[in-house]
């Protein structure tokens, strides 16, 4: 039940991110979360969007290299220790976190969400669920 993230290759020079957001805006894509990883000469943008397949198509047609990656989305209650609880479960299950990034609650406002990149999404999801954490479905993620 992992959700799908779109990862896009960008050259590290002025205007490349803007080119991508222009393509998405023209195609009416709604972004729900975004993170940017960069090195000296290139970057990878990771986004959670409302329509994954449409987004991948318009990006490819516009000449971007992109890929779809399964990630785990969790809801984090806005209380002290909210994230710590999530990480404790992953740590206890010996699950390595490659990267993660946060997203605000969007239309629902109150909660925060984290997008987690792990080796095995299924294993992480069942551990989190067993620990009482709310795990997002693709539908939730598309409708944030």
């Amino acid at each position: 039940m992992a959700i799908k993230q779109i990862s896009v290759f960008l050259e590290n020079k002025p205007g490349t991110l803007k080119e991508m957001t222009k393509v998405l805006a023209n195609a009416g894509v709604d972004m729900n979360a975004l993170s940017l990883a960069e090195t000296k000469d290139f970057g990878i943008v990771r986004i959670i969007v409302d329509d994954v397949y449409e987004t991948a198509n318009v990006l490819r047609e516009s000449g971007f290299v992109c890929s779809m990656t399964p990630v785990v989305g969790v809801m984090i209650p806005d209380v002290v220790g909210g994230l710590d609880r999530v990480l404790e479960i992953l740590s206890a299950a010996d699950i390595n976190l490659e990267y993660m990034y946060a997203s605000l609650g969007g239309k629902k406002q109150n909660d925060a969400y984290m997008i987690l990149r792990v080796e095995n999404c299924e294993k992480a999801e069942s551990a989190l669920r067993a620990g009482g954490i709310y795990v997002l479905s693709q539908e939730n993620a598309s409708d944030m």
């Binding site: 290759f9 990878i44 000449g63 990267y99």
Partner: protein, 433 residues
């Protein structure tokens, strides 16, 4: 069953070939001495007289001609026939900044087209074939050369010239073209475009391609062959000597047979000018034995390669030249190390990258820098910065072990490197020396 265009010459015994070369050389030499004052003065200045040259074995006594001579005598100084007997000129693309102009009589044109007809025959062409010539037509020799050879064989010739890639593919499919002729970089681009259009090799009617006019690697050959489902043949030539068809590849794909009944080859030490024995690597030098209008004797090509008379499975006895690493003009000297763009291409293709790349050389704080720009491909891309950086590092290591030199690798956006329709601009040298 191997077919030849002129079996008696292509499969002649070494003895017969030497006799033919000797006879042609002596009359060519006398004729040039008589009709080209620039050449006569050059020979006299070197202290050689007509009597010193009794056979082709004495050729080593004669001075070399180089691109500098062509420039000094531009445009008519090396002409050996009155202009009234010349019917055509061709000119180089000037990729190295020095434009060359060459003249042809009708006989020169006919013999040149026979050379390209030999190349097409070796690639399997008969009058049943449809040959699409996607080399540029005009001053460049590529279009005219293959067009002429294709006519000699009676192939249906499709003169698309270069450019307008989608129209090229339309003609190719509508007319069921079986053989395509163009530069290897354009062939790679055509293949890339066909792939984008969703064409698989069995939907592409081509069976063979003849690609030349720039240096390309063995890996690029395999890539073009598998994308289009064809056999790719190399062809070699210089405008100064006629154009493509000075040498051509047969199905063995282990080097190109030189049409040595027309072009007599030697390998020399590029520094000392000394003639080297067969099998040595050195600079290729040619003497045109038949050219009437623009005959060059001992012309230095700047191409570094090896000659070999090893028996070839195709049955031709014409001497073979190994694929040149590149013109010594293309050779870069970076931090004192000799680098050929084709070596960089080999590394890229071995690591799964496409043949679209650019080499940028610069000098920062008195040190040469080498930046290899490569396009990111869907196959190489992941969402993990570390994985991509690791692939980049692999490439840097691969380049280091091939070149003995540390290069920077820049991954750039797809299609951001300009595609060429003729000769690709692979190297940008920003150094001001």
């Amino acid at each position: 069953m191997e077919r030849y265009y002129q079996a008696d010459l292509e499969c002649a015994s070494l003895e017969d070939m030497r006799a033919l070369q000797n006879e042609k050389f002596l009359s060519q030499f006398r004729r040039v001495m008589e009709n080209v004052p620039y050449y006569r003065e050059k020979v006299e200045k070197s202290g050689v007289s007509l009597d010193d040259i009794q056979s082709i074995d004495d050729i080593g006594k004669l001075p070399f001609l180089s691109k500098d001579d062509l420039r000094e005598s531009y445009p008519y100084g090396l002409l050996a026939k009155p202009l009234s007997e010349c019917v055509r000129i061709h000119s180089t693309s000037g990729t190295t900044g020095k434009r060359v102009m060459a003249f042809y009589t009708q006989k020169d044109i006919d013999l040149w087209y026979e050379c390209t007809a030999r190349a097409l025959t070796a690639a399997g062409a008969t009058n049943e074939d449809v040959v699409q010539v996607s080399y540029g037509y005009g001053l460049f020799t590529g279009g005219a050369g293959l067009d002429g050879g294709s006519h000699k064989l009676g192939c249906l010739t499709v003169p698309t010239s270069s450019g307008n890639t989608d129209r090229q593919i339309m003609f190719l499919r509508d007319l069921n073209a079986t053989i395509i002729c163009c530069t290897p970089s354009y062939a790679a681009y055509l293949g890339e475009r066909m792939k984008e259009l969703g064409l698989t090799p069995d939907q592409i009617p081509l069976k063979a391609g003849i690609f030349g006019a720039e240096a390309w690697s063995e890996e690029m050959r395999r890539d073009i062959e598998s994308t289009m489902g064809i056999k790719a043949y190399d062809i070699y030539g210089l405008t100064e000597l006629s154009g493509p068809g000075v040498a051509f590849e047969c199905s063995e794909q282990t080097g190109m047979h030189i049409n040595e009944d027309h072009f007599y080859p030697e390998i020399i030490d590029p520094d000392t000018g000394e003639v080297l024995p067969e099998g040595s690597e050195g600079e290729l030098v040619f003497t045109s034995l038949d050219k009437e209008a623009f005959p060059l004797i001992r012309y230095r090509t700047k191409d570094i390669c090896i000659l070999s008379r090893e028996k070839c499975s195709c049955g031709r006895t014409l001497i073979k030249m190994k694929k040149p690493k590149g013109r010594s003009d293309d050779m870069l000297i970076i931090r004192g190390v000799n680098v050929f763009p084709s070596q960089i291409e080999t590394v890229l293709m071995n690591h799964g990258y496409a043949a679209n790349y650019q080499i940028i050389v610069d000098r920062v704080n008195n040190t040469d820098t080498l930046d290899v720009r490569v396009e990111m491909t869907p196959e190489m891309f992941t969402d993990n910065v570390g994985d991509i950086a690791a692939k980049q590092a692999e490439l840097v290591n691969g380049l280091k072990s091939m070149l003995g030199l540390k290069a920077k690798v820049s991954l750039v956006a797809p299609k951001s490197i300009t595609r060429s329709e003729g000769k690709a601009v692979r190297v940008i040298d920003k150094r001001k020396i």
